[in-house]
Amino acid sequence: MTTTPRTRRARRLVALLATGALAGLTACGSGGTAPTVSSDAGPEGVDDGTTLTLWTRAPLEAQAQLLVDAYNESHENQVELTITPNDDYVTRVGAAAGSGDLPDLFAADIVYVPNWTEAGLFADITDKIAELPEAGSINQGHLDAGTYEDQQYVLPFVLDLSVMFWNKDLYRQAGLDPEQGPTTLAEYEEQALAVQALDQEGVYGTAFGGNCGGCGVFTWFPMVWASGEQVMDEAGTESLLDGDAATEVYDTFRTLQEAGAVTPASRDETGATWVADFQEGRVGVMPYPATLLQGTSETVDVGVTPIPGVDGGASTFVGGDGIGISKDSEAPDAAWNFLSWLMSDEAQVEVLAANDVTPARTDLADNEFAQEDPRVQVINEVAGAADSRTPFAPNFQQAFNAPGSPWVTLFRNQVYGDAGTLEQDNEAITEALSQ
């Protein structure tokens, strides 16, 4: 091939274009300073007809939609909601964060929050939270998760708690007391086996997400906490999941599995359908997301009790989503207006509690709606119980929630495989936590 001056020029041009574009591309890192909410905006921020964008993940769509509709109806500001599938939320937030495209407000699974605050995705709202009249009663677990180097970035958006549900009809048939759920781990095992003993086609004692790290975290950690033990050290860098209480929990599920009292679908359940069998009335008793009380009550006569430990106690995983103002927001004062409204009695009681969602403020646990349904009271009370926790770890996702995480490997070995690998599996979790 001969080179004419023309093609040489063309080549130079191409090279120039490529390097120029690359240089341009890298100019937009996550530079820039995070927005601050101005202090003269007052504790309620600004309501001046700004259009705000809000992102959340699909599992909380119903609650988010309720909140956004109520806010839009009563305010000049208008919030536009974008829903993303649960499994793809991190992808989307990551892509947007990299190019400075985050929305004004975005919610995040509370276990991601430490990682994201550390990465600087949220704006600092420490001073604004302090100005709130209800500051003292906001759920501490969520506030702690959103605290980084003594600055606060996140407020609770929707609380999602884990509790024990049981099917009263099946309990009656099995000769159990339909008004009395399990109060210890041993009782849970007995009651599940009793339902299994009915020997009905398609009916099982219990169910769980056997291939779902998040489900295991959500439902098994409280059993350890209620027994007075911990799952990690304070800093969230060392796993303690080889403790006595944890071992008891694994043994319980292994026993149930070997007795055939677990739904066959549990073994490869990745979390997409882990409560479906209970909803269809085919499961006796299982730890369950409290947010689904309303929906599940339509098909099943549900009893509710806190998740017990080895010898009693009560605990819950204070999960759900936190929400903050993003580093890219151009209207932080208006965004704060939404957050301050979110903490108000109106949002917490009239919107959330009215729809059976646990309020994120301890002083509202005994609200008018809870008084109508004792089951809701049980849920609200356990949210503030001494042994209830929101676990904190910067690498929580990799260690526990990610598909195929070391935690999934650990509990699958404990329930289905070689239980002798506990030490090294626990070591693998520690390794993931301390990276």
Partner: protein, 299 residues
């Protein structure tokens, strides 16, 4: 979908017998010897059609835990229609994106195929190799840089930007297909047009485009199917829920509530996604197949 790679042109095919079946006399076999074949192929037809038919049937049949829990009906489709911005909006987005991708892919690959088949210019082979190299990069990796790049071009979060990216992913197959389509036409055809005083563009427009039509249909159909069905690309590139294409909306709907997959809505969504593709495919099947034949694909 991926595209074939070029190699040395094969010798031209000589005359072909449409029923070139070896070793069977022309006398025709007895019907008895055919029975096993019919049973086998019949079984294959059932196996290949079963999943599609099942999805359609399941989407209107009663299932516990879906919008259609009792009796037959369109409950799941109502879920679909009522979801967020409504199914119409998502269908429109998908249609716009797919239409753009088809037009862009056809335009770029027609000109590109012509250039690769009929011209020699410096850098030709390198450029062609680069086009094929698009196939070899895990596309999930390219999405983040593409996201950043589209933001630079002011095309982030727009259907146009999405269409440009999807077109790029279509280029290997489309360019290859158009190249062999042009190569299958005798060179004399173009030369005589040039002698008659056409410019190269005139020759392309008047003489060559009609000749490569089957190839164009194949390329257009592939581009449509790919753009209509793509899920990951819009997931990363589109951040405004009013601009979501249908597959993304269906995936969103699949997991409405923690721990429950709405299978009914999923099946209805798959049916709505698949129906236009299947109908279009059946309508264009004859042309599409001929597009493959006209190039007499050289390995």
């Amino acid at each position: 979908m991926s595209a074939p790679a070029p190699a040395r042109p094969a010798p031209p095919p000589s005359s072909r017998r449409p029923d070139a079946v070896p070793s069977r006399g022309r006398g025709g076999p007895s019907p008895w010897s055919r029975t096993p074949t019919y049973v086998l192929t019949g079984g294959l037809v059932i196996i290949f059609l079963f999943p599609l038919i099942w999805a359609g049937v399941a989407s209107v049949s009663p299932q516990a835990g879906t919008a259609q829990s009792e009796g037959w009906g369109l409950g799941n489709y109502e879920t679909l229609v009522g979801y967020q911005a409504g199914v119409g909006r998502y269908l429109l987005n998908s249609t716009v994106v797919s239409g753009l991708v088809v037009v862009l892919t056809l335009g770029v690959s027609l000109l590109g195929g012509y250039a690769f088949a009929r011209f020699s210019f410096p850098g030709k082979d390198l450029l062609f190799l680069l086009v094929l190299a698009i196939l070899m990069v895990p596309y999930a990796t390219l999405l983040i840089p593409l996201y950043v790049l589209l933001a630079q071009l002011g095309l982030q979060n727009s259907l146009v930007g999405l269409a440009l990216v999807l077109t790029m992913f279509q280029l290997p197959f489309a360019t290859f297909m158009m190249r062999i389509s042009f190569e299958a036409i005798p060179a004399e055809l173009e030369e005589s047009a040039l002698v008659d005083g056409c410019s190269t563009f005139g020759a392309l427009r008047r003489v060559l485009v009609p000749a490569v039509k089957p190839g164009l249909v194949t390329v257009g159909l592939f581009a449509f199917l790919a753009a209509w069905n793509d899920f990951i690309t819009p997931l990363v590139l589109i951040t405004d829920s009013n601009l979501m294409p249908l597959p993304l909306a269906v995936a969103n709907m699949r997991q409405q509530v923690m721990g429950i997959v709405d299978y009914g809505a999923t099946q209805a969504g798959v049916t709505v996604l698949a129906l236009p593709c299947v109908l279009l495919f059946l309508a264009l099947q004859r042309h599409y197949v001929r597009g493959f034949m006209s190039g007499a694909l050289k390995g």
